[in-house]
Subunit: 120 residues, 2 copies
């Protein structure tokens, strides 16, 4: 079942990692550092964006709901529908903290991006 733009439905996790990320204005803002998977359900909890200090975030990583990544074949990377300011103010964390037992972070992240909670 290809998407309207002809993509297939499936992608390897290892292929997502490292892919460039652009904001809505077309500026390259970072890359996908990793994905966080839910061991207790069949769900992807987050894609994790790394900015390499571009946004002045130091070593903080931004978890975003998986559904916000939209692959652009033209740009060879994902476009996320957020401005720099929206990302600057978004929930962020050290990478290792994103896999700790923190359902509050998950709730804050999904609420910040107005994404329906898959766990309810």
């Amino acid at each position: 079942m290809p998407t309207p733009s002809g993509h297939t439905r499936a992608i390897l996790g290892s292929k997502v990692k490292g892919t460039a990320v652009y904001n809505a204005a077309g500026d390259k803002i970072g890359h996908v550092e990793d994905v966080v998977l839910d061991k207790m359900s069949n769900n992807i909890i987050y894609a994790v964006l790394g900015f390499g200090g571009v946004l002045g975030m130091g070593e903080k990583y931004h978890p975003i709901p998986w559904a916000l990544l939209d692959y652009s074949p033209d740009q060879g990377g994902y476009i996320v529908p957020m401005s720099k300011d929206e990302l600057k103010n978004a929930p962020a964390s050290r990478l290792e903290d994103l896999t700790k037992d923190d359902s509050d972070m998950r709730t804050r992240t999904y609420d910040y991006y107005k994404t329906p909670r898959y766990w309810e």
Copy 2:
């Protein structure tokens, strides 16, 4: 929300890749080669097991539903509740074919392992 055995809920995709896999009898049978993610929903389609020829499968990889992986801290790897024969007869494919537009493979795999279809 820790699991009964004290695990946390979340894990990095990159950390899953390469982890050893044991069968129900405790024999090491292979490793997790990768995960396959669903671009059209929030779901993990498969974990992909690689056997390095142990089962005589050559370069075939076995997709299995994510929920079948059960991490054992004692063994430092995942235990899958299948015998060698069950795995030998399971759906298998070249890695690159697992991300093609093949909803039939997904159906066959979930049905083989008697796992409810997340997409229905």
